[in-house]
């Protein structure tokens, strides 16, 4: 089977300082990959390099496109990459305000990607936006309200709806539950798990919360100082970590 995404030797330096170094893995359709590690270990750097938000210094990010098969997104033209990022790719930011238009209604936020790919029927766009609000458990009566009037959890769910409305195949998420109350986190995780299953989504989720990967990720990569120190099936890595650092990471959570 062709991997949906094949990441090869991704390296990013900030000056002399390592962001991430020589990271590679394959992600197959329907798989969820978790990336964990302490603060500053290079998780976001890696994610942003894969999503094309940062230019990596070396490496390839080969995506199995619908029309042309596997293509290196690092070297494809910017218009192609931007088109990909609003059709087959989605990116969920840790802070909803980075991924939403705060001055635009919930319906407009969800509808934007539809309009970006050429939908021009207001009634259809609105109906799809309303449907998606329902799917992320936001009441349809809020469709014309701005996200500024939403709670943190609602904003995050709105960001997810806005990203998934065009039926992407790959979702990048950077700490999607970070900064939310614990009870709100649990609900969001449930919702994400349902969506990933129902839509058969492939996803790459960056988090420092092992509970998140336990629940969502099939596979896990542990990062330290920009390097991947251990990778494997989530349960294996969490229950029987091999690398000393992974052991520390897992035990420090268990102690909580």
């Amino acid at each position: 089977m062709t991997p949906l995404l094949s990441v090869q030797g991704i390296t990013k330096f900030y000056g002399q300082h390592i962001g991430c170094k020589d990271v590679g893995f394959d992600l197959y359709p329907g798989e969820v990959m978790g990336i964990v590690g302490e603060s500053g270990s290079g998780k976001s750097t890696l994610l942003n390099c894969m999503a094309g938000h940062l230019t990596s210094d070396a490496g390839a990010v080969v995506f199995d496109t619908r029309t042309d098969g596997p293509r290196d997104t690092v070297t494809m033209s910017e218009p192609e990459r931007r088109m990909l990022s609003r059709t087959d790719w989605a990116f969920v930011h840790q802070h909803a305000r980075d991924g939403l238009r705060m001055g635009v209604s919930a319906g407009g936020n969800v509808g934007e990607r539809l309009m970006a790919v050429g939908e021009r029927h207001y009634g259809d766009i609105r109906a799809k936006a309303t449907d998606w609000l329902g799917r992320v458990e936001i009441d349809a009566t809020r469709v014309d309200d701005r996200p500024t009037t939403f709670s943190g959890g609602m904003q995050q769910r709105l960001q997810i709806a806005r990203n998934l409305v065009t039926g992407p195949r790959l979702v990048f998420m950077d700490e999607p539950t970070g900064g939310l109350d614990v009870s709100v986190q649990a609900r969001l995780l449930d919702l994400l798990r349902g969506l990933v299953r129902d839509m058969g989504l492939s996803a790459i989720i960056v988090t420092h919360d092992l509970a998140v990967v336990r629940l969502l990720a099939d596979r896990l990569m542990v990062m330290k100082d920009g390097h991947v120190v251990e990778a494997g099936l989530t349960d294996q890595v969490l229950d029987d970590p091999q690398h000393a650092y992974s052991q520390l990471l897992v035990s420090s959570v268990l102690q909580v």
């Binding site: 309009m115 790919v117 021009r120």
Partner: protein, 287 residues
Amino acid sequence: MSDYNFAYLDEQTKRMIRRAILKGLAIPGYQVPFASREMPMPYGWGTGGVQVSAAVMTPQDRFKVIDQGADDTTNAVSIRTFFERTAGVATTTKTSEASVIQTRHRIPEEPLSEGQILVYQVPIPEPLRFLEPRESETRKMHSLAEYGLMHVKLYEDISRHGHIATSYDYPVKVEGRYVMDPSPIPKFDNPKLGDMAAIQLFGAGREQRIYALPPYTQVVSLDFEDHPFEASKPDHPCAMCGAENSYLDEVITDDAGRRMFVCSDTDFCEARQVAGHTGTMNGKDAA
């Protein structure tokens, strides 16, 4: 008068502005940066338009200035006087007699012809600014023709008002490529932008942008399939000249708050009255 170069600006500056204009004409709807000069009038008084007019003006030109359709507002008079003083050109209020027309907020009712130049004063040239404040991002959107955001603006309009309530600055797409802000003309005027025989030049002084529509350019107002563009105007005939298809201003006529609708294009209205057309509030009609 002789303290100034012809039309106030020095020749080097005019050449720089003409190059921007030519580039704009070559790429219809594309915003060309230019080094806007200090003019002896404040921003918001049409400094962009004045610089464009100065750059295209020749001693043989006959100049007209329209401010919201009228030739006699303070703004229109001061710009007209400025060019009478600095260029010594003839001026007129008659649309058909003018070779260069500088305008704020209107396109004349009378169709323009080949050889005429219409210069618009533009406060904010960037149609995407409303939703995307980052200049680097709006430039990228233009260069890649990523215009979904423009429809988000119209979507918001409909969701808030039940219809597209944008009535000025109504965005257009030029030759299927660049989305352009037509300056704050009423959307009633939008259909006149397309396929026009005259050259249309747009100057934004503070924002330092020039853009242009060469003659007979395709210009389409953005809309939704189920909310098509409408060039709406108040649903009345002009009270002075009886015109049915001109853009109207609402005028309060007395202390009791009585109102009437009259043509905003004063030259058009007067010409019709001279030709014998009358409306309900016109003295001749009442007599």
